[in-house]
Symmetry: C2
Subunit: 416 residues, 2 copies
């Protein structure tokens, strides 16, 4: 029992709970991230050399190069990457958080979220739409390109104008209410997307004076695609988790994510090292016509959401997910309750109606994970071997990276 | 066991499930209801003579007369009512459904809902806003008047224009989705109000060309007051329950409601007779500063919602109601499950996520109520002696009116 550890972990929990994410702007990645040059492509997960990138994640990076006009053919893109003319870097090095393959290129619009409590910024790019063929699921073709351009040229500018007219949109009140409306803010963002639209309505009425059709298109993007808010939830979670990072003696997980080969976590008190282990175990419900053999890992950092007490850690708020990702209401309650064993405490503001408004389990403690043998449960989308989304479901993290992190913690702080 | 009864009740259930309510227009009551003359005031519940009307319901009728300009003082209103110059009639005689006291006057806007499955129409007037001092809670003063006029002059016309531009708004898809977002569509209409706003938004953008501020005011009315959709839920339920009324041999309840003195039900196969009994038993959570001694009955027909398998019959879809009307999630589940004992079957389209998407218990059978001794559980708002809303909670119907109806059924159909 380390009092310093307890104090540090309580401070991490406090920062996670106190985070106050505000959507302040929408900018092309290159403007939002001055250190991002025009020939860099960001992708999900811990750093990985190009030659190790495979499958959908490799295809997605190449697709990003084609979309950005950095190469005319896949072969040219690969040559330029090998030659260093196009650079590939992890999202996390730029304050970004990647959905699945998590491709960012210089011209893509990003949601700029500021944690008003500590002033730190986090970024996420946009949901591509309901079509399961998406760049972040390892697919690039003319249709993907058109949908990305629609987001870039129509949806993002309209929302940007409306956000500016509104003076920014506070995300936490939306997230709190969405938890009372069937969302867990990872695999289900239906209510949050509607609540976000509602906050923007008055400003969108103003923007409509400059052209009604583009505003209608933006509204469709926000409310027809129930996943729209996911990217805001990711950026909000990133802004909270980053705020809880770097606390000496804290054994709290401050990021989780994976690339096509490995799952990895960072720990608040252990600097910028990623502790790496095998991929999680999948309990997925696949869309009709797909089989488990098709399941493919192509990266993903949306599990930053679980790091902050949402998603799999708030699944008892989202019984409607049964039909989407499988599992019974009883199993969802049991899974959710199990997560209280591995966290520092309960979220002060994110609450679960079914559990008598108990705060969600928040602040994953690597030492508790190792002691209990329980690992985080995460709600994720499932990608197929040939690209595209083929399902959704729960994954349970492998304990390997937590064991490595716990060992490092003991080495660093001489704790038992 | 009567096969004719079973067939009749199955047809009643079928009609309840198949109802397809569409908001087709918003009109002043006098235009929507040609039989309503300018000097008639409608109020909730089974017919009751003026001298028996007391408390908030009496005050509300007088308030209606003042609002409509039928009298200049309360005393003058009472004299004109006694003298027959102002007439008081039950909402149900005009296809309307009354919230609490349920006051309709000739100039008030009403929501016109058409059940596309059978073509029948139902009407409900507008929610007055979040202020607990409301005409339908037995209060009339300058503030109440201003809020009623705001609805009449700003909110209703804007929504009317938008509904016309949209070609009508289908309510059932909204209600189905709202059940997956924490609403039971009686005491909680938060998601449904947002979903309704979303359906209307493209049309509101068009209306905004004629003046942005009035559209902003209408959007506020729809989305800031989480009860806005309640009146649409009531009209939708009325359109479904009316469609299930008048089926020979059916022992299914086709309306429930009360006035200041009595609770009453109608039965599909028993004509237009109201079967009358004592008021329900209240399990309420009162707003801070109020006591149970203040609880006052001033009428209410919103329990038409329970008649169609929603509200108290769908409470396991609405765990967020715990904090509003009291009770634990476990009690809500148990209450909801108990209702399956007294109904004909399960709703084909209204489903409860927590119960593995089981259809809501639908089609209250008076004979099953009497056999089981269980009575319907209803979610209602609670009025105070001095007017205004003082809380919300569950009420359990008294068995008396069901016993009377069951006896009448046996007399009519010679069933055992």
């Amino acid at each position: 029992m380390s009092t310093r550890r307890e104090r540090a972990n309580n401070e991490a929990l406090r920062r996670l709970c106190a985070a106050d994410p505000i959507l302040i702007d929408i900018l092309p990645a290159q403007e939002a991230l001055p250190e991002l040059d025009a020939a860099t492509i960001l992708t999900s997960g811990p750093p990985i050399p190009w030659e190790s990138l495979e499958g959908g994640q490799r295809n997605a990076v190449i697709g990003g190069a084609l979309f950005e006009g950095l190469a005319r053919t896949a072969r040219e893109a690969e040559e330029k990457i090998v030659g260093g003319e196009i650079r590939v870097a992890p999202c996390s090095q730029f304050g970004c958080v990647g959905s699945l393959a998590g491709i960012y290129t210089a011209s893509m619009p990003v949601l700029v979220v500021k944690n008003a409590e500590r002033g730190n910024l986090a970024y996420c790019n946009f949901y591509e739409g309901t079509n399961p063929r998406r760049l972040n699921y390892g697919v690039y073709d003319e249709g993907v390109r058109e949908r990305l351009l629609h987001v870039q040229d129509v949806v993002a500018p309209v929302i940007r104008e409306a956000v500016a007219a509104a003076g920014g949109i506070a995300l936490k009140p939306i997230m709190q209410r969405a938890l009372h409306m069937g969302d867990e803010l990872h695999s289900r963002n239906t209510a949050a997307s509607l609540l976000f639209a509602r906050e923007l309505f008055p400003s969108l009425l103003k923007v409509a004076a400059t052209g009604r059709e583009r505003v209608e298109a933006a509204i469709r993007a926000i409310t027809a695609d129930h996943y729209f808010f996911l990217r805001l939830s990711m950026a909000a979670a990133k802004s909270a988790a980053d705020a809880a990072h770097g606390i000496e003696h804290s054994s709290v997980v401050s990021a989780m994510g994976f690339n096509c080969r490995e799952f990895a976590i960072r720990v608040s008190g252990l600097g910028d090292e990623w502790f790496i282990g095998p991929h999680p175990v999948v309990e997925a419900k696949l869309f009709a016509g797909h089989t488990t053999e098709e399941i493919s890992w192509m990266g993903g950092e949306s599990v930053i959401i679980e790091t902050t007490g949402l998603g799999g850690f708030a699944q008892a708020a989202a019984f409607p997910l049964q039909s989407y990702q499988g599992g019974s209401a009883e199993a969802m309650v049991a899974n959710n309750l199990a997560m209280y064993d591995i966290v520092v405490g309960e979220h002060s503001d994110f609450r679960i109606p079914f559990l008598a408004y108990r705060g969600t389990p928040t602040g994953i403690d690597v030492l508790k994970v190792v002691e209990s043998g329980r690992t985080p449960i995460m709600d994720i989308g499932i990608a197929g071997r040939d690209g595209g989304q083929i399902g959704a479901g729960l994954v349970r993290a492998h304990i390997g990276c937590f064991e490595r992190a716990a060992a490092a913690y003991r080495r660093s702080y001489d704790a038992t």
